[in-house]
Symmetry: C2
Subunit: 158 residues, 2 copies
């Protein structure tokens, strides 16, 4: 069964394919930094100056950049921190500001995130992250020949 | 005890006080439409064309405008639909696109919302709504003399 294609909305005026690709690249870099437990990369992804906000699931809002970075370091250094697979990326942008929504697939649940990126002189940086739980959907991903992890995972989800 | 002031971040270049006020007015109109169960006003608030997404707490993402409007009508017509008080508005915007985060205070809990607004020819319209539960903070609001509705409501919360 083919994996469901991401739903990408029509582009808004003055926000072209290249911009959208750049925002999606920033979003992938965010999840890569998380999965690689890379504090330095995570720090580079967040806007170095200006307003930022982070809303971890069920947690108080963080508006202070130093607190936000500390929260990510704490999550990433936890021995049971999950790996997150990001799917269903969806972008709504205008020049200089763009929202990415995406599904975060964890081993024990799924979240939807709203990630806001702001374009600065050196590219797109995260200015806001908000995630919360959603009902899981069945997902497939390539697995080694001879295994059927996807099918097993699907049964576990429901 | 004084009520905590909203935290408004510094303005980004080219997004001035007037723009911020206009976005905040749109955000207030959204919560007013909800509290007044005003289907028509809710419909006017959402962007009439273009990409939209709505993430109700714990629900699947909705990307279809008709489905989003149906979801709001269903919530608003429910006899136990709560009234929502919006506080702690925080805006991050650039010309044409702006994110408002705010606390949604319900009788039985509190949420934080990330509301994205897009500017169209006739003003700012909601393009994305994402809300999820957060730990409640104590809040005060003026109550009629001789009543203690706030205190009673607070006891019911826990």
């Amino acid at each position: 069964m083919p994996r469901r294609a991401p739903r990408l909305p029509p582009l808004l005026a003055e926000f072209d394919d290249d911009e959208r690709d750049a925002v999606l690249a920033a979003n992938r870099a965010f999840y890569r930094a998380f999965n690689e437990r890379d504090d330095a990369a995570m720090d580079l992804i967040w806007a170095p100056t200006g307003a930022v906000v982070c809303l971890h699931p069920g947690q108080p809002a963080l508006y202070d950049r130093a607190e936000i970075m500390a929260s990510w370091r704490a999550i990433m250094k936890h021995p049971e921190a999950p790996r997150v697979r990001c799917t269903e990326e969806w972008v709504l942008g205008r020049p200089g500001l763009a929202l990415v929504t995406c599904r975060e697939i964890l081993p024990n649940g799924q979240l939807m995130a709203s990630n806001l990126y702001v374009r600065m002189t050196d590219g797109w940086h995260m200015a806001s992250h908000h995630s919360g739980p959603v009902p899981p959907v069945a997902t497939e991903r390539p697995t080694p020949a001879g295994t059927a992890v996807g099918a097993r995972d699907r049964r576990k989800l429901h």
